[in-house]
Symmetry: C2
Subunit: 340 residues, 2 copies
């Protein structure tokens, strides 16, 4: 049990004095020490070397009084382990030379033992937990199967992931085959993370909000729900679906312990859609961390008043932007820590 | 009064036998004749030459039994007329060399008489109306002030328009100065379009959905509402806010005749949020026009059943994609025309 148990209390719906706070991508480019590390090691080296991943995970913890750490890693390590050799390409970002385009491509995917293929992640967890010394809890994460499919079929990032969507609409049977494989592998992966001691897991459905509510049920939620069902008895599960306001009502009836929401939904609506019955996490507009610190402080406290102190985890509505001054992130965290 | 009055009937809330149908970006790259025209003339030449703009506007009308035409033009002709020389840059898209970055930049913007600066648009309307020969109504349009600000400050397209948002959060006074200027000019522009005979106008708020509900009220809706108030007595106004589901309840109390919705909201929710009291337009997922035509036909008819035949205009949830086969667009329109 971590000494600071605020985050796990909020996930369990236990009463707290103030809400816990962490920030998506808190171990990221807004930190000068992260940028310095980036000069020396490329992206997947930082993911694969447990010493580096642990060091990066701790960076924001040393700077800011946050209530949870999240393991530095990437959602694409899962498709990499399954035989999709994603790389980071200059000025493109995540890149897969031969995207998934046929049933044969999907059948060829592997499901190696996660200890063999992703052992470096579990070793990073072991090291991080050791460094954290039970001060605050550690979060593990994965991408949602739909979000992984988006990259696997598109082969790179996209504004709209139309190619991935068209793949699903033209070949729903192939899509489901692929989604089920990713789901099974993700369950094995996250289960092992929990065995290694992460205190909670978060599923990032970054691209769920590109689907219609019906297609979301079919191509995304169905699989997220399988993962949630498989893990809920082992650790609290947070589901963050960017743009997925329309699914909140369905999600809050699942075994998830908390739901992440982005900034395009008001706290009032988020509570209404989830019938006040589940812990919510979010939803400060990441761009607003570039407003003057006084404004950040005031708006963050107003956000807490609107969500309410209980069953609430303060966070951004998406990852922190690279050009946020550290003092602005500090103003945000301080607004929570000093809230009363 | 056009011979086919279905579209204007739906806008006025009059009873119809079937809903009208048109498609955002229907005069676009999915048409081979549009692509042929593109080989010969660059983008803004096509906008500026009334003969070409009229010819392009008619292209989809000749192919498909649609119930409204929309003038071929671009939302960026407005900032161009105000002194922001947007161009189309190869593999970048809309591009402004010196984006708006200071109060001085905003003060320098001009408000020339719209007949002088945008006469080519009004001439294109005159020509188009002549060619349409009162068969179907013609829609004019503009971008929302917020969406224009996005391009003016960012200087190009973006996934998230963070620079534009940060501009507003750091300098709200400058933002409001710019938004008011764009609003005033847009009112003059759309008023003149109506004088020249367009039967309805649509305001495209393509990037409204990037804002939180509060910021949307402050930086987008406030100005859209000014435009709507100024024009509503002259012609029906359609407001399309992509991703703006959260503002539907506010919007439906305005003087707008119809609200456009994207595919991430179910027809049921869209009706619920607007209390069944306003005409809705939308919301087929554009990527689904690449599904097999039989599926398109079935899902389009299902969409009509869910929205209901009355107070409804069938459309996509955003612009048609360039690679949609013409027969797929035909299946979509046919599903509406044959609906009973």
């Amino acid at each position: 049990m971590p000494k600071n148990n605020l985050f796990l209390d909020a996930l369990a719906g236990r009463k707290v004095q103030r809400p816990p706070v962490w920030m998506m991508r808190q171990a990221g480019r807004f930190l000068p020490e992260f940028r310095a590390m980036r000069e020396k090691y490329d992206f997947f080296t930082r993911c694969r070397r447990p010493d580096l991943a642990a060091e990066i995970t701790l960076m924001p913890v040393k700077r800011l009084p946050i209530d949870a750490a999240i393991l530095f890693s990437d959602i694409l390590v899962v498709p990499q382990a399954m035989g999709m050799p994603f790389e980071i390409k200059e000025s493109v970002g995540p890149f897969l030379k031969n995207p998934i385009a046929s049933q044969r491509d999907i059948e060829k995917l592997q499901m190696p033992d996660v200890e063999d293929s992703l052992g470096y992640v579990f070793e990073a967890i072991d090291r991080t937990l050791c460094l954290l010394d039970d001060e605050i809890p550690l979060i593990g994460f994965s991408g949602s199967p739909w979000t992984i499919l988006c990259y696997a079929v598109e082969g790179r990032g996209s504004k709209t992931f139309d190619k991935a969507k068209v793949f699903c609409f033209q070949h729903p049977d192939w899509a489901h085959l692929l989604l089920q494989k990713i789901t099974d592998y993700t369950i094995a992966y996250l289960s092992k993370k929990i065995e290694h001691g992460v205190h909670a897991v978060q599923i990032f459905d970054s691209w769920g909000g590109l689907l219609s509510p019906k297609d979301y049920d079919e191509f995304s939620w169905k699989y997220i729900n399988q993962i949630t069902e498989a893990l809920a008895d082992k650790a609290p599960v947070i589901v963050f679906g960017k743009g997925c306001w329309f699914a909140l009502e369905t999600m809050c009836d699942s075994k998830a312990s908390a739901l992440g929401v982005d900034w395009t939904i008001s706290p009032q609506k988020a509570r209404e859609f989830t019938h006040n019955k589940i812990t919510l996490q979010g939803n400060f507009d990441p761009a607003k961390l570039l407003a003057p610190p006084k404004k950040i402080y005031a708006e963050a406290q107003q956000m807490i008043r609107e969500f309410g102190v209980q069953k609430y985890i303060v966070n951004l509505g998406h990852g922190i932007l690279p050009d946020v001054p550290v003092e602005n992130a500090e103003a945000f965290v301080k607004a929570v820590v000093e809230f009363n």
